[in-house]
Amino acid sequence: MIRRLLVANRGEIARRVLATCRQMGIETVAVYSDADARSPHVADADCAVHLPGDAATATYLRGDLLIAAAHRTGADAIHPGYGFLAENADFANAVADAGLVWVGPPAKAIALMGLKIEAKALLAEAGVPMLPTFTDPELVDGFPVLVKASTGGGGRGMRVARDRDALADAIASARREAASAFGDGTVFCERYVEGARHIEVQVIADAHGTIRTLGERECSIQRRHQKLIEETPSPAVTPALREELCAAAMTAARTVGYVGAGTVEFLLAPSGRFYFLEMNTRLQVEHPVTECVAGVDLVQLQLQVADGGTLPPLAEPPARGHAIEVRLCAEDPAYAWRPSTGTLHRFRVRDVATEFRPPPRPGLRLDSGVDDGSEIGVHYDSLLAKLIAWAPTRAGAARLLASALVRSDIHGVLTNRDLLVRVLRHEAFLAGTIDTGFLDHHPEVFTPLLSSVDGVRLACLAVALAGAAERRATASVLPAAPSGWRNVPSGWQTSVYDAPAGRVEVGYRFDRDGRLASWWTRGVDAEQPQPEVAVVHSDPSGVVFDVEGIRLAFGVHRVGGVSFVDSAEGSIAVTELPRFPEPTAELAEGSLVAPLPGAVGRVLVSPGQHVGAGELLMTLEAMKLEHPVHAPAAGVVASIPVRAGAQVDTGTVLAVLTPE
């Protein structure tokens, strides 16, 4: 019987596992890297062990340190979560060899499924439907194909090649990413099906031969092969299809002698045929939707199975409504999903019914790895939290989830929140007509929520007025005088902001009674007439406007020069530009600066070299993704102040080009 469990992971999944342990009375041990010293998962555990360093390879991927930590703390079991060592057969073996309970499938099953090429061959033999697969790129007999890493998952190391010319590049790039992420650069090619949906089946098996399926999940809303929105049941799966999918999943699990929780992933072609993609031998990120609808605790089942227990008699899940999960990530969808780092000053999701477990009745579930003040760094993946809505209907779940996202305060880092809301409210999504190319087919979902002319105007005005209220509230002289009072009014109080759509200048003036006498904005569409606005209330934390008879509230949260504005239309962050910029040396003309912190990857050019517009100059590696740095225009490389491997911060000059 597991008495004390070490969670060899971080973030929301560590907290998720710890939550079930607490419910079962299992004592808990967390581990943490330098960067995670103040992370919430550390506080959630009964005790925690420090893994010195930041890089995953020095910390959460160090099996020896994890096993030593378990011994030191008297833990008798290890749960790997997902990612990191969750699908590492050597680690699973090492855990067992150390006399600890491994909360996961047998190392053999992991190893087999980890070798995707071999696994596919084996399962094809067992009758699981497969797409044509090529290990030798020369043998590829048709395009497009998907280049995939043989090990690992999470969409890393995946590239689509649409013709033979692109294939070599795709393979090289996928190899590098796979090698960097999983330590194994082996890749293979698979026929790429356009318009396909991603459907997967949750399985759970005990060591006594019982295998159960817990219905399907659809994860077709993806970006760069990484799942963004997951749901169950899938609107594309009929009862008959479900039966077929579950049967195939069961076959796959049985064929490899699977024990524990796992997921069999399929591709559902527009033709209605489905093909095996891979089996994930771990708890999935998206497991909460299944928990809501099936009414189970998958972690609890994992622990029971690991303890040698038998599975409770689970029937196929009865219809318990619909659940949708979104992955809220610190990244900028509008900028090629560039990871966003920094301090998460405020993270507040309203009206959450439960955390880390299904709500007792339909509602919102939050699985979050962060807290107010969390530092979002470059070392690990960008997932901040998962928000799950469970409702009687799919449309109801989508509506609940979208509105909860809009009403959340997420201050400090850019996130994909607006995109998630736009997808959840999209006609095509609501109609269930989705496939893995959804984001490519519907670029309108990339538009920020708060982007209307008046929305941006009012948001900036709200920041200005909240700032005025704050300055008046903290004034050390003349605090009792009306804000900005003049006996001979002639100008306006002005503030200039760097807003998502560019520079916005705001002017305002109050009358002697504190009413907004006059205001304007510059930098937002000037053609559109400005609405009549009265200020119902203003204080440092927000402003309520009366906009031509309609009351609208804007929350404002200022941290240094950055203000985060939340409204019913959406949220933006604006940075106030200094009123008196110090005259300082500007960057040399033609300087290309790092758009995010990371490490310089490959440097492809050298000083004196002619480069064409758009030519790849170097790559920047951050958060395990490769970010290309292209020449903005044709020119000559004047200097390259950085070397490959150098750590750079946002704004570091990477290259200087002399334009031609």
């Binding site: 700032g467 005025a468 300055r471 008046r472 004034a475 050390s476 002289v477 003349l478 605090p479 009792a480 005088a481 009306p482 804000s483 900005g484 009072w485 003049r486 006996n487 001979v488 002639s490 100008g491 306006w492 109080q493 503030s495 002697r512 009674d513 009123r579 008196f580 110090e582 005259p583």
Partner: protein
């Protein structure tokens, strides 16, 4: 602690009449302020902007802390004269880096910012305020120097501006100057006499004599930049302490300088916590003053809309009831109030005032005078009972009181009542006027009547027949003249106050003044002149 009630009836006929009369006066004030704001007019403003330069009020808006109040002083200086309204300079009290400062900004769009006699008077008044209240002085200079046609009226007295600057410095009141353009000849001594001098690159021109005059005097051929450019002064002559890249940078440097002045207020701080707003509608102040100056009105209706929480503890309410005295607070500062209830001051009122002023001095409490007086009572009975003696008591007390005085003319200010109630000659720290107010030696009708009586007596003495038609014409003309010469705008144009204010702004204006006053010490008098008892 007593809370002032109100008897104002917004639905009454008097309310509407009074309000309408006040709105007419405010419209005249607004027109005058429009003239002041217009500076040199559209053409010159456009040309100035086209050169990348800011107007004086734009410079001030950038200089002062955001959302803080700015009290412009003497905004309608030169109103009713041959010189442009505003007198080509903007002065006022503003907050820079949490420090209240006196700011003086030339308006180069008005005849090149040339200094005329009213510019001089307005600038000197700003200097007085800086000295009396220990407020740092910030000069935003861009002026072509003396207005040559009126040089006779400014050359000799104008030297005081430079003397005052260095005396401020000697009194340890910091002076900071930014030169945005011309500051030549005499004007060069403004940066010359300041503690800190900032010059704007490629803009500042600071020299005793420009290239043509140098050529005439010594034969040397030279140019503006070598003679007095910002770079030259910052690197060679040392006259500039800081070189600003542009106007905005110049203002940034002022703020940088002020931030390091280590300024602390010498007077007591206001009571902690937010000051309670008056309980009654401040908007009523438009209708409280009688449209007809001959009708006195209750100043408690004003106090109830000016003092914190409308709280006022009246002193000696049953004695000398034509003058109301008492204690209250304004923006948290304690204050003693003397306000005329009925215009005439009798012996009792004068004695009550003298006593109250001494009490305020004994406890270091500033005084507020609300003037609405037609003077001390005349007539045999009152002369025989010693009205001069008693008036002298009051004037003695006012003249020798050393607690700061604030005066607001909220109606009539006639005769020696103007003196006893701390008129301009008695150097209140600040004096403001409501648009309905009038000040003169006596009322226009009385003055015309007196002239008529004297003329009639002269005619009778000579045995001549008095020309009644001529008398009527004379009286009308005199009345008209006195009427206009006693009007608020006319007197403000001549710098006999610090500005005409909207009655609804009274509390804010006084609050700013009180805060400014407390930058210096607040100390009552140790002694007065000999009281003739």
């Amino acid at each position: 602690m007593a809370i002032l009630g109100t008897a104002v009836n917004p639905r009454g006929q008097a309310y509407q009449e009074n309000r309408s009369a006040m709105l007419d006066r405010l419209a005249e004030l607004d027109a005058a302020l429009d003239d002041a704001r217009a500076g040199g007019g559209e053409k010159y403003v456009a040309r100035h902007h086209a050169r990348g330069k800011l107007l004086p009020r734009e410079r001030i808006e950038l200089l002062v802390d955001r959302d803080t109040p700015f009290l412009e002083l003497s905004p309608v200086a030169a109103w009713g004269t041959d010189f442009p309204v505003g007198a080509s300079v903007v002065t006022g009290i503003g907050v820079v880096e949490d420090v209240e400062c006196v700011i003086v900004a030339n308006d180069p769009t008005v005849r090149g910012g040339a200094v005329n006699p009213y510019t001089l008077a307005k600038t000197r008044r700003a200097g007085e305020i800086s000295l009396a209240n220990r407020l740092p002085m910030i000069n935003l200079v861009e002026s072509g120097g003396a207005d040559l046609p009126s040089q006779a009226d400014i050359f000799i007295p104008g030297g005081r501006v430079f003397r005052d600057l260095t005396r401020l410095s000697a009194a340890r009141i910091p002076t900071v100057t930014v030169v945005f353009g011309n500051a030549t000849a005499g004007g060069a001594y403004v940066p010359g006499m300041s503690d800190y001098t900032i010059m704007v690159r490629d803009r500042a021109k600071v020299f005793l004599a420009g290239p043509p005059l140098v050529k005439m005097a010594t034969g040397e051929a030279t140019d503006d930049e070598s003679l007095g450019g910002a770079v030259m002064h910052a690197s060679r002559s040392g006259l500039a302490d800081y070189l600003a890249e542009d106007e905005r940078d110049g203002l940034r440097l002022v703020r940088q300088v002020v931030r390091r002045l280590n300024r602390r207020k010498l007077g007591p701080a206001p009571r902690g916590g937010p000051a309670a707003a008056p309980r009654h509608d401040v908007g009523d102040l438009l209708a409280v003053p009688s449209a007809d100056l001959r009708l006195p009105y209750d100043p408690r209706e004003v106090l109830g809309r000016v003092l914190d929480g409308s709280e006022f503890d009246e002193f000696k309410p049953a004695y000398g009831a034509a003058l109301c005295t008492g204690w209250g607070e304004l923006h948290g500062y304690p204050i003693g109030v003397l306000a005329n209830v009925r215009g005439v001051l009798f012996s009792e009122e004068a004695q009550k005032a003298a006593q109250f002023i001494q009490l305020a001095n004994a406890v270091d409490t500033p005084l507020l005078f609300l003037q609405n007086t037609t003077g001390y009572m005349v007539g045999t009975e009152y002369e025989q009972r010693g009205i001069i003696k008693h008036g002298a008591l009051m004037i003695n007390a006012v003249a020798n009181s050393t607690v700061p005085h604030l005066t607001v003319t909220i109606g009539a200010s006639f005769g020696a009542g103007n003196y006893g109630m701390c008129g301009r000659a008695y150097e209140p720290r600040f004096l403001f006027t409501w648009p309905n107010a009038k000040s003169a030696v006596m009322g226009p009708a009385q003055l015309a009547g007196v002239l008529s009586i004297v003329a009639r007596q002269a005619a009778e003495a000579k045995g001549q027949v008095y020309d009644e038609d001529a008398d009527r014409a004379m009286r009308a003309m005199v009345e008209q003249q006195i009427e206009s010469e006693s009007a608020a705008l006319y007197l403000s144009g001549r710098l006999y106050d610090d500005g005409v204010i909207d009655p609804r702004d009274t509390r804010t204006v006084l609050g700013i003044c009180l805060s400014a006053i407390h930058s210096g010490p607040v100390q009552g008098a140790d002694g007065f002149g000999v009281f003739r008892l």
